[in-house]
Amino acid sequence: MTEKIATRDAYGKALAELGRTNPDIVVLDADLSKSTKTDVFAKEFPERFFDMGIAEANMIGTAAGLAAAGKIPFASTFAVFATGRAFDQVRNSVCYPRLNVKIAATHAGLTVGEDGASHQSVEDIALMRALPGMTVIVPADGVETRLAVQAAAAYKGPVYLRLGRPKVPVIFDDNYRFAIGKAALLREGQDVTIVACGYMVGEALAAAETLAGEGVEARVLNMSTIKPIDTEALVKAARETGALVTAEEHNIIGGLGSAVAEVLAEEYPVPIIRVGIRDTFGESGSPADLLKKYGLTAADIVEAARKAVAKK
């Protein structure tokens, strides 16, 4: 792999870039701007940046008020706090009135690493996905993050952007066109489809490479929009490859795997194996050690793909 960029770094840059062309963009943070990278925006546009202190509920509520008065607020903190600590505010002050608030949460999933389970969100996609009217986007790399930030700002309504702490390989080139609700086909294949999001997209591509060596041609779909999910791409994959594996850095309950299973159970039932966190909290450790221990590596995806193919 070549270049590596953390999606949170791409977010910080994209936000500042957006601020230059759109005066309605305002940014809120809850004392984590150096980590979420909203400090890049804060330095350039101090009058449009609001540090709300360690008070996430109030941050989301304030963002709702700013949106009600015509602003496009991006509110950032760690995913575990944005979706858990402030859930009722996201529900009642943002989603119910369908206000134009963008929640860009970083440090999602196990790859937070050493800080441990209290800081590792394994349930945020499930929480946000269950809210009526919420759009949920999990960019795979820096390029897609920048495009997703732009798309979120252009879209009118609540958006949850799930970003990560570690540097991840750059997957897309400058020709990539991102659209909310559209999966990206990263590798063609007819034997099985691996549907991945976020950090796991890189692992999915590595797994497809390994599978090819065994004579199994795996299709890889980057499902960066978890909601609304690309039903057409999923049904096509089910029809043409007959088995699916989902891969996400999230609980297998309520996340990408659940979303895919829900669609295909109704539209085109085929075997599906979910790779993800198996309904447990994480722990302290390096991201690499955690991903290995909790079954979130290319090898785990390969194993799941073999099982899925065997079930056809």
Binding site: E47, M52, G53, G61, T62, A64, L66
Partner: protein
């Protein structure tokens, strides 16, 4: 503050009409919250008929003053005031809480013209009002933001996060009213979870604090003017009120927090408010 006799008479008449609507709507709906609606009827009347710059023909006019009813369960008073002010037909008040109505059991800004924020989950309105006030400052607009909090509602921790933020960002375009009627569902606030001392708490959080009789129009309007003249701080107007004000058998009775009057009770109440 001296009020012209005709202004005072107009406000008293409006407040009475609004109280009558509250009783009728709730009796028709068969559920809802009369006590805390009646307690702020005079404040809401003063805001919509003397204080706030609004245009019923343009509910989304960007220069309008805004009221966030953070104690959303008191929405019958808000709906009654909006209808009387011309935001929607008075007859529509009788659809409160019914299927397909624009008048939800708690305020819904997407459904009801003139409602500025969807509220109902207590504690959230002050943060939203802060956001509107911040936006006003950013855009150099002269609109003012009003918010009404319940005295039980301030038991929510988020209120104090927002209280801190409003002072930190020097939101002098924000004026809050605290409906200090002393009662919440489970009983007197002092017994359930005492939030007092109120004035000292808000002052300690950096607010300009005024204390008034929330049923006296001169005091309400004078406090609003003092708030407008205050620079660098948000203003909290602690309004001493009577829960159920205006209906003898509801006044100071905690049981009327969240129970609708029967047809007979409504008739008695309307007779008192004639």
């Amino acid at each position: 503050m001296e009020l012209a006799p005709e202004t005072k008479a107009m406000l008293e008449d409006k407040a009475k009409r609004i109280r009558r609507h509250i009783v009728s709507m709730l009796a028709e709906a068969g559920s809802g919250h009369p006590g805390g609606s009646l307690s702020i009827a005079d404040i809401v009347t003063a805001l919509y008929f003397q204080v706030m710059r609004v245009d019923p023909a343009r509910p989304d006019w960007e220069d309008r003053d805004r009221l966030v009813l953070s104690k959303g369960h008191a929405c019958p008073v808000l709906y009654a005031a909006l209808a009387e002010r011309g935001f929607f037909p008075v007859e529509e008040l009788m659809t409160l809480r019914k299927i397909n109505s624009r008048l939800q059991g708690h305020p819904d800004m997407k459904k009801t013209p003139g409602v500025e924020m969807s509220t109902g989950s207590l504690g959230q309105g002050l943060a939203a009002a802060n956001g509107m006030a911040l936006a006003g400052k950013l855009d150099k607009k002269d609109y003012r933001v009003y918010v009404i909090l319940g005295d039980g509602e301030i038991q929510e921790g988020m209120i104090w996060e927002a209280a801190m933020a409003a002072a930190h960002y020097k939101l002098d375009n924000l004026t809050a009213f605290l409906d200090f009627n002393g009662l919440q569902i489970d009983g007197p606030i002092r017994e359930v979870m005492n939030p007092e001392p109120l004035a000292e708490k808000w002052a300690a959080f950096g607010w300009n604090v005024l204390t008034i009789d929330g049923h006296n129009f001169e005091e309400i309007l004078a406090a609003v003017e003092k708030a407008k003249a205050t620079r660098g701080k948000p203003t909290m107007i602690i309004a001493h009120t009577v829960k159920g004000k205006g209906v003898s058998f509801m006044e100071n009775q905690v049981g009327w927090h969240g129970n609708a009057p029967s047809k007979e009770q409504a008739e008695q109440a309307l007779a008192e408010l004639a």
